[in-house]
Amino acid sequence: MDWFEFLFAVEVAVGGLLSGVMYALVAIGFVLIYKTSGVLNFAQGAMVLFAALTFVSLVEREVPFALALVVTLVIMGLLGLAIERTVLRPLANRSPMTLFMATLGLAWVIEGGAQLIWGTQVHALDLGISNAPFEIGGIYISNFDLVAAAIALALVIVLTSFFRFTRTGLSFRAVADDTFAAIAIGLRLNRIQAAVWTAAGVVALVAGLLWGARLGVQFSLSLVVLKALPVLVLGGFDSIAGAIVAGLLIGASEKLAEVYIGPFVGGGIEGWFAYVVALAVLLIRPQGLFGHKITERF
């Protein structure tokens, strides 16, 4: 391999790592809900769409950027509360499959509602972050990707600290570990669930803004969940740090596969290659690289 080819391979890997950070941003929203309630929230992609669409629609109606951000945060918080009150609370103690199906239905409702309220038009979203690349040693790196990576890293640090060091965060973990024991010691399950869905809404807003700036704010934003699913399988459904590490692994591996394996099989393989990696991990380590192994005794 000559120097140019080596640099190219490094560039592909770096590009993949930065893409992986974007996948992890979406995956973190899933982890938050799963970690505290054991529910795989399929509506996370729809929440990403709803958040971005709400924000950009407010900005287009001359609402100042900062105010639009605050208003969208409040709306996402209210949405989280509404979901907890109208969907999850009535389904408390139902099987995980029932809850999963509920979130599947929720995804359709949120997607339809978002389009009904804000319309179906495609919107541009300018966060003021340049997409232009700069060069380091022959490798192009986008400013936008670096900012996105920094935001994702900050989010991981904040959330990890929150779960480790705050009383509320510890309550979340207690509920996740043993719901009945948590209720028995006086933790208010409903309040905790409402708080975590609100937090998931906030994460959806962050992901929605960054993905929206990249794709445009349009229906396809809800499809970014397809990129997050293999990340979840690889990293473990209940590990925030796992989501970021798995995001990096998936991003880099799918890009390298596309460039170096793709040409031998007709190309266009990165979409499913990520699932091949996830499947391989699933077979070897079902709980993912960082997920908790659960032992049940009957």
Binding site: F8, V122, A124
Partner: protein, 445 residues
Amino acid sequence: MSFFRRLAPALLAATILTGSFSTARADEQFFPLQSYRVGPYAAGGTGFFGGFIDYLTLINDRDGGVNGVKLTWAEGETEYEVEKGVEVYQRLKSTPGIAAWNPLSVGIAYAMIDGVTEDRVPLLTVNHGRTDTTDGRVFPYVFPLLLNPYSESSGIVNYIASKEGGAEGLKGKKIVVLYHGSPYGKETIPIYELLAEKFGFELVQIEVPHPGSEQQAQWLQIRRERPDYVVLRGWGVMNPVALTTAQRNGFPVDRIIGNVWSNSEEDALPAGDAAIGYTAITTQASGQEYPVLKEIISGVYDQGKGNLADKNRIGSVYHNLGIVNGILNVEAIRIAQAKFGNRTLTGDEVRWGFEHLQLSPERVKELGAEGLFHSINVTWDNHEGEGYVTFQQWDGKKWNVVSDWIAPDWALLRPIIEASSEAYAREKGIAIRTAADVDTVIGPN
């Protein structure tokens, strides 16, 4: 108000579901519309079907219909999904007086070919569809009007040649085709190979997996290839992502040429400044300066009857495509009426009208569409109709035409189209039509 305008299509769909929509009666010609106003491709659907309905409304209100025959329509929501499109087809196909189907979806159109052939009702796939349906000898009821995918490819290469000082200038150049990972995206692979061989340019074709929201690997490959041009054969979210990823990888946007499904405001606008200078092919110009557009604004929108919820979209690429599609449908009916009488026509009579749909530039001018589109020359065996193409460049807010009308190389393409259609005919056991079959028309009972 806006909320309720958006609610209207849903209410309409509900009305259709309950079976209470009005169907074509005497002196009415009916258009069943498999529209998509929600879902991932709603922006294109609302624009196209909005333009189509606006033109039909104009004809009804201004002229009292086509020679006194009122135009009616009903919508069924498909969300661009094939099974829903087929469901709408099954539900509406028994409605009396159907003029033609206009699904604006390759998948739905493919699924309907056998059905419409049996029903003897035209199926229009303006600017898209299966290329070999251009051959009316094998596909009597399918019309890929104005532009099929092969002609589009040829038009793009001819445009690049014009920028390089002629066909000779293509020799030794390198062109990458970045295509959507779907049957639609892959359809032009062999034709680009043929064009590369003919003109002597080097060709690299790279696939982007659906939906195309991540393209870093593909654009790194493009950067390594160092092409002179990239042809973007995208769809939906793939288009703005291609433009922003090209910018991220330092590829000049004015060297990217978009195909006909990468040429709308919805494709360029989300990419922000990365799209400024981007060029794309089109069969119809955008803008409101054409007489027919002015009539639609004054005669339809100013009367509160416009179909678009957002008036800023009047004259957009999809809206104008819908209007041109309306013109082609209405003129086919008018031509068929001249032969069969000013009454509700059967689908087969409308098919005859389409097979004689010849609109010269002078006739296009009479229709108020000079500059909006060039002309069309459909015959019984050429169902595309030799549409001309032009190229438009995005300035950050709107498209501006940057070329003359360009003719694709139809003579080069025809033998390949015939080879494909004849293979289809053999596979399906279809007898190839001759000119003598054209006037065999099923009239009203």
